[in-house]
């Protein structure tokens, strides 16, 4: 192992040597600097490797011949190795990124960089308080120097503000340090830790000053205006250094010093941290300048870390794991984002669509955003998980809430940004110049954060158990993106089929049903993908990622695995949804609702883990404390996916704007993940009560109202796919209601309903998708008469709507019948009536769908339209066959499901005799009904055909039309606002109240954000006042006066 002091020696030596090189020698100075940075990276990585392979014990490095506390000593332990490695790598890669810029400025600029890194290394390693002060000064002066690499009024004024703030803060630090020395007689941190500094008022004030100064370095809200300005004003490469390297070191200093403070003070700081986290993210909402936005985000992340470290006494031994994993994500992501920002050089995040000029940058951008938000498989995912588990496991619900709120806000602006980059129109005037030395660091960090995620997972107790194979399979498609659709699609289908074949026997019964929906359904919808030509970039990795998530849900044994899969599914589906033409806002709201829901699930799982040693999913069976809360959190979380009323506004747009085969994927398959979640929740936790009110009872009303609202909205849509999307909302309302019944019949209804809905929604979405594919419009009133051009699609839709409407004899009725038996048994008639009513409304939109598109007058421009692509029809007819089969033999489907439910709800209230089902209340024989109806139908048809066989087919406009002859199909196709009288009568029920509610929340958040940001008026002196006020207020809070 190389003595870490050489890090200091080499960096200093090279910096001092640079003076020898005049202007001509600045290249040499540059290369030498890079070499030095490379060397120090090597040294710290070597130590890190030593610690990770557990061959190495922490090493003390003494300066001079004397032992501490008489002289200054450095410590190289595991954490130090991690932190110095991060800093040094950032120095090296960041230096590479800035190389040209630095070279332009001359060797002095390299000196600043080298000394910055040197200073940061020492502040991480040193165990001496005053030494810390000195090297913090070095680092901040170096930063102040680097800020003005690009000299303009912005960078200079921000640098000046930085210097002013830094001067004040370091004054506090020095004052505190000296008084600590006065009280303890030593400057050694370890020496201080051994004494109880909080007994005497004076020494606790000294501690207060030191810690507050360090906290101020971490830019707490609201004393952080200078920090934000620096992020915006400095060159992006420098901001990257500040955000990644400098903040990393500051965090470690904070970690190192916080044990000096009393526990109450630690909590106070944690509170400040969390306030910073939430407030900065709130302010991030209204930012449009990328660097400033990143600045707010950086500050918020550091605030979060501050909170975590402040709470370390609560969190316990996993604090370090959490801090490092979140920090690492932040480090890579923030550096990468700043770098990208530096490459494309725009002043507005709306212009980030220029990223699409470079695929690799776009991909990296996405990776960084995901890493930052804490989605799998990135390190922060595990960190946040562990954090929430620990906090909620120790009853710290307020903290959990605040953390989740803050994270949610961050996700909001980050994903808005990502959406801009992926979807907004390319601004023509900007074309980024991409230099090799700038793009390599970005790629390197993007790759590193993935690797880091994997290692973090491997270092987590449950992360180890995660099955990464499906994800790897999905990601492998990134590598073969250059192949044509045909090959990739075949591979994807083969992969899913093989996986299902190999594993389906290992699933339990109910899981197997859902596995079939997920995987076989996936295969069916993928079949439609053959209709696409070209490469279809970016489709397969994400589609398969979604399926990987769905598989993970089924296979999950532990809570972490479950949550991981849940998030993975969300990511995949997000990218599928955002592929749609106008889906930018819908994809965002989908993501936000998903993330919100996921956070609720995470909190729920966390609370469920109270007092549990192992975190397998079975803990849900034995929730002893806060069981109703756990139940509600999880249920609401799952219901964001099932789009229950109030949480549904993301769905219509997201599903409607998606591509022809994506709509069925997200609508028919993905929504069932929510049902699956609810199912396992109910299986595990059973019925819970708030006071005396049963939560499933509430859930039943949610389900009923969802169905009513969804179906009603569907009836008033003009957009065919939106209609189907709302219909999905309604249908999922039935499923939720069925589950909430908590009876054998109810669950049987819900599961059979899920299966049927999967099939018919896939069928309908594919059929309508095929129509939209040919017609290039989704507005139904622009269609019409297509039965003549697209008879196959028509037939699919016909069967689809009959099933959907639940009209006998098709299988839709089996769901309705079961549903009523269940309602009768449970005696929830009012909800039942509401559901019945929604069922009739379903009738309205079903008719509308088929009428407006396929019947009525064919438009002139559609006279030569072709039938939908073959490959879109193939899965439809497979589904049709299955649907008709089930219609004929309902018992064959329902009986096995009923048997599967017996272990959970043993009172099998339904008896089968062949295809005849009997309950206490009624009976029904699907097979005979089918035979009778087909019989009557054939006879009647035969009779009619016999009587009317010579009927002549007449032309389109040959209709009885009060003395005039219509010649424009538009005027004779009654389709727009079809249910006008209905809307007139009860349209007020579907006033967009819920959408308005969420919009108002959104506006409110922005308004508050606006208020907050007004604090930062850009005046350096005001910032200083903030700092002093911060100190005084914190003092008053913690000491309450003199």
């Amino acid at each position: 192992m190389v003595n870490p002091i050489y890090i200091v020696a080499v960096l200093l030596g090279v910096a001092f040597t640079s003076g020898f090189f005049s202007k001509k020698g600045k290249n040499i100075a540059g290369y030498l600097s890079m070499l030095a940075l490379g060397f120090v990276s090597f040294v710290s990585l070597q130590w890190l490797h030593g610690f990770l392979s557990e061959q190495q014990a922490a090493a003390q490095i003494f300066t001079t011949a004397f032992k501490p506390p008489f002289s200054i000593n450095l410590l190289m332990g595991k954490e130090e190795a991690v932190f110095t490695s991060l800093i040094n790598i950032m120095g090296l890669i960041g230096g590479l990124y800035l190389f040209r810029k630095l070279k332009e400025t001359g060797s002095n600029a390299f000196i600043a960089l080298l000394l910055l890194i040197m200073g940061l290394n020492v502040i991480v390693m040193t165990r001496d308080l005053f030494n810390l002060f000195v090297f913090m000064e070095i680092s901040s002066i170096a930063i102040a120097g680097l800020i003005i690499l690009s000299q303009n009024v912005k960078s200079i004024s921000s640098g000046f503000k930085y210097m002013l703030a830094g001067g004040l803060i370091s004054g506090m630090l020095l004052l505190g340090t000296v008084f600590l020395y006065y009280f303890t007689g030593t400057l050694n941190i370890d020496g201080m830790l051994q004494q109880n500094l909080n007994l005497v008022k004076g020494s606790s004030v000294a501690v207060f000053l030191v810690i507050t100064a360090i906290v101020l370095e971490l830019k707490p809200f609201p004393a952080n205006g200078w920090g934000v300005d620096v992020y915006e004003g400095a060159d992006a490469g420098i901001s990257a250094l500040i955000s990644s390297a400098y903040a990393t070191a500051s965090v470690y200093v904070f970690m190192k010093l916080i044990p000096v403070a009393s526990e109450q003070f630690q909590f106070l700081i944690a509170a400040i941290g969390i306030i910073t986290f939430v407030a900065s993210n709130l302010m991030g909402l209204r930012q449009s300048n990328p660097n400033r936005l990143l600045g707010y985000s950086s500050i918020s992340q550091i605030g979060l870390l501050m909170a975590i470290i402040g709470l370390s006494s609560v969190i316990g031994e996993s604090t370090n794991f959490i801090v490092i994993s979140i920090l690492v994500s932040h480090y890579f992501a923030k550096a990468g984002l700043f770098w990208i920002s530096g490459i494309i050089k725009t002043n507005s995040i709306r212009d980030w669509s220029v990223l699409r000029h470079s695929k690799i940058l776009l991909v990296s951008f996405g990776i960084f955003i995901f890493a930052l938000v804490g989605l799998p498989p990135f390190p922060s995912f595990f960190g946040k998980w562990e954090l929430i588990m620990n906090l909620s496991g120790s009853h710290n619900f307020i903290w959990v809430t605040a953390i989740l709120v803050g994270s949610f806000l961050e996700a909001a602006y980050m994903f808005r940004w990502l959406g801009y980059a992926i979807k907004l129109e390319l601004p023509s005037e900007i074309k980024p110049v991409i230099k090799l030395n700038k793009i390599i660091p970005v790629i390197l960090f993007a790759a590193s954060v993935i690797t880091a995620g994997y290692f973090t997972g491997m270092n987590h107790e449950y992360g180890k158990l995660i099955n990464y194979i499906p994800l790897a399979f999905a990601l492998a498609f990134v590598l073969i993106e250059f192949l044509p659709v045909f090959i990739k699609n075949t591979l994807a289908i083969a992969g899913l089929a093989l996986y299902f074949y190999l594993n389906y026997q290992s699933y339990t019964d109910i899981s197997r049903i859902f596995a079939a929906i997920f995987l076989l359904g996936g295969i069916l919808t993928l079949l439609a993908g053959y209709a696409y030509k070209g490469k279809r970039l970016g489709f397969f990795p994400f589609a398969l990622m979604m399926f990987a998530g769905l598989i993970g849900l089924i296979e999950a044994k532990s809570t972490l695995e479950f949550f991981y899969a849940w998030e993975l599914m969300t990511i995949g589906s997000y990218f599928l949804i955002i592929r749609g033409k106008k889906s930018i806002t819908h994809a965002l709201s989908y993501m936000l609702f998903s993330i919100g829901g996921a956070y609720l699930i995470m909190a729920g799982l966390g609370i469920a883990s109270i007092g549990k040693a192992d975190l397998t999913l079975s803990i849900l069976h034995q929730v002893t404390e806060y069981a109703p809360l756990v139940f509600i959190l999880l249920a609401v979380g799952f219901m964001t996916k099932t789009a229950s009323i109030g949480l549904h506004i993301w769905l219509p747009g997201a599903h409607a704007e998606a591509e022809a085969d994506v709509s069925p994927m997200v609508s028919a398959i993905l929504l069932k993940a929510g049902v699956f979640g609810l199912l396992i929740l109910l299986m595990a936790m059973g019925e819970q009560f708030i006071g005396k009110v049963s939560i499933p009872y509430l859930l039943s009303w949610v389900g009923a109202l969802t169905a009513l609202m969804g179906n009603m909205m569907a009836a008033f849509q003009e957009d065919a796919k939106k209609l189907l999307a709302y219909s999905s909302i309604g249908a999922l309302g039935y499923a939720v209601f069925g589950l909430s019944l908590m009876s054998h019949l109810g669950w049987l209804t819900a599961i059979s309903f899920s299966i049927t809905h999967f099939m018919l929604k896939a069928l309908l979405f594919l059929a309508i998708g095929g129509v939209v594919w040919r017609l290039k419009t989704k507005d139904m009133y622009k269609m019409g008469g297509l039965i003549k051009r697209m008879p196959f699609s028509f037939f699919s839709v016909l069967i689809g709507i009959i099933v959907l409407a639940g009209v006998p004899p098709l299988t839709g009725f089996s769901g309705k019948w079961l549903f009523y038996q269940a309602v009768m048994e449970k005696q929830w008639f009012l909800q039942g009536a509401v559901l019945f009513f929604s069922g009739i409304i379903a009738f309205l939109y079903c008719f509308r769908l088929i009428h407006a598109i396929f019947l009525g007058q064919l438009k002139d421009e559609h006279r030569n339209v072709k039938e939908a692509p073959f490959w879109i029809l193939v899965p439809q007819y497979i589904l049709l066959a299955v649907l008709l089969g089930f219609s004929f033999l309902p018992g064959s489907m329902l009986k096995p499901i009923g048997n599967m439910l017996l272990p959970f709800l043993p009172d099998g209230a339904i008896h089968w005799n062949g295809q005849l089902a009997t309950t206490v209340y009624g009976y029904w024989n699907g097979k005979t009904v089918m035979i009778i109806i087909v019989g009557i139908f054939s006879v009647v048809f035969g009779w009619l055909w016999f009587m009317n066989r010579k009927a002549r087919k007449i032309k389109q406009f040959n209709i009885v039309y009060a003395a005039e002859r219509p010649f424009r199909p538009e005027t004779t196709h009654f389709a727009y606002n079809f249910f006008a009288p209905y809307k007139k009568a009860i349209g007020f029920l579907v006033a967009p109240g819920i959408t308005n509610f969420w919009n108002r929340i959104d506006e409110g958040a922005h308004a508050v954000s606006d208020k907050f940001t007004k604090l930062y008026n850009g005046n350096g002196q005001t910032y200083l006042i903030h700092i002093v006020a911060f100190i005084v207020v914190i003092y008053l809070i913690s000491f309450g006066g003199f």
Partner: protein, 233 residues
Amino acid sequence: MLKNSLILILILGFAAIMLSLFLSYTPSEDLKGVSKHYAEYGKEEVGAANLVSAVVVTYRGFDTLGEVTILFLTASVIGFFLKVNHSKDDENTAVKKYSEILGTSAKILIPLMVLLGVYVFINGHLTPGGGFQGGAIIASAFVLMFIALPQRKISHKVLSAVESFSGLSYVLIGVLGIILAAGFLDNQILSLGTFGSVLSAGAIPLIYILIGLKVGTELTGIISNLKELQNEQ
């Protein structure tokens, strides 16, 4: 005005913090903690009569290295911040004439000041003073030169060469400490010598000389940068 009164209230709040510190201070009678060790063993361990120097250069030598670095860094940053265009100097400086008396007396004073500076840092381990003070005095001498004899120039190349040389040597001495003695920056790479003589206290005089040179050149550099900026236009 409102703002000022707000600030005043803030300062009063701050004064409360300061007051609590002040009130908790009781004059102590004896040395305690590490200082006691310094006082008792400093003479044997370091061999410098000036205990402050002993602490500065040896016990807390690492701080001092940082301190030097700060000046160096400041000078570098100012260097590229101001980015003086050296070529223009000649024409501008020629125009200015300063008083003859000042010039003459400066010619006598400057070498004396430099000498004083050198004395201060060479004797840093024995008497008050040291590298920083000496360096500052030398820099003052150059300031005087800039004022009194504006036509005299000092080569930036020489300045930075001296600066680099002394800095590098300082680091090397530090590293030698690891190799030859007990640790980084250990002064015992040279023998401690007779207590109280110039050539004592191990490497302290050497380090102080380097620091003096370095600080002197750095401060001179800063000022000459400013001065040359002055002459611009």
